[in-house]
Symmetry: C2
Subunit: 204 residues, 2 copies
């Protein structure tokens, strides 16, 4: 909604900021006034950064992560372990895995999860490219890190069928009780899954 | 903090967005990825809006609200009641009063509240201009709508002394129990103030 008590330039900025996720009308006003209260350098830097964004950033030709140039910083890093390939749904998932600093292999970004209801079938995702990449990379292990949800599980099953008979060890990220969670408050599905997937715990 | 797993253009944008109030590192990533996921038109429009902001927006020469051109949309509106002048600390306070749609007079934005600790004395605020404006406007009533806080009250007292002997009715916004609040959970200062400021409630 347009605010007639603001000058048009400020109102225009507030309405554009209001389209960002999690930014309501009041927050948009607050953000616009904050930017106006900063040195003009900040607004200019942000403006330039936004204007050049779509020209500079594209998909990595190898893994479909975002990249400047043909390959992303991960695929271009010779220290990454090419024997490990981790399949994720999207870039935020990749960033989350990078943040936990447990993984030093490569990635493959599918571009989403299978979802017949939303019209996302195998052709909408990067499965074909994944198969072609496996032939070239010949990794030892492929970690399926799609989400633990109906759609993520469907996508994982599809991959399982697709790769049947290939000389690659297929693994799936563990699902179970998250750290710091009291069993009492955990949903039944997760607890049931954690019980079924129980691990040996004997001495030695 | 810079994220080395993002392409530089996206990381640059995320770091700039991370300087906005209430936007942490993860939110900044999320916002940057959201913008990248939209049509380029959106990023361009936001970029242009930011780049032109400081060139287009200045202070209203009359009330110190933000304006494009010399006077703000409120001062330039002939339907506003010139007999009423409302003094506020800053623009967000003005916008809050506009939103409640109870007030159709003019404003005067002080630019803050008196605060010796933060080095804000009378000379840092727009009191001199307010006095000059009173001589021209000759309003019937001046509503002091500075905040109900130590600094807001000090500013209100200063105004009270400054305007002593002038032919203008001075009023202060009411302070008391906010709507929908249970007395049990209200702070002592507010409740004490509401008791001291009690109003006649007799029949007729």
């Amino acid at each position: 909604m347009s605010d007639i008590s603001l000058p048009p330039a400020l109102d225009r900025l507030a309405r554009l900021l209001g389209r960002l996720p999690g930014v309501g009308e009041r927050s948009a006003h607050r953000l616009a006034l904050f930017v106006l209260g900063q040195e003009p350098d900040y607004a200019h830097a942000l403006g330039v950064s936004l204007a050049e964004l779509h020209d500079l950033v594209r998909f990595c030709r190898d893994c479909h992560h975002f990249a400047e140039g043909q390959r992303c910083v991960i695929c271009a890093d010779p220290r990454r372990d090419c024997a490990l390939l981790c399949v994720v749904e999207d870039v935020p998932d990749l960033l989350a895995i990078e943040r936990c600093a447990e993984y030093r292999g490569l990635y493959h970004v599918l571009g989403g999860a299978l979802s017949p209801l939303r019209g996302v079938g195998p052709r909408e995702l990067t499965f074909d490219h994944l198969i072609a990449r496996l032939d070239v990379l010949q990794p030892e292990e492929l970690i399926v890190a799609t989400s633990i949800s109906v759609e993520g599980e469907a996508t994982a099953s599809y991959l399982q069928n697709l790769l049947r008979g290939r000389a690659v060890r297929l693994t799936r990220i563990a699902s179970g009780v998250p750290q710091g969670t009291d069993l009492e408050y955990l949903d039944q599905a997760t607890l049931g899954r954690a019980l079924r997937a129980r691990l040996p715990f004997g001495r030695g």
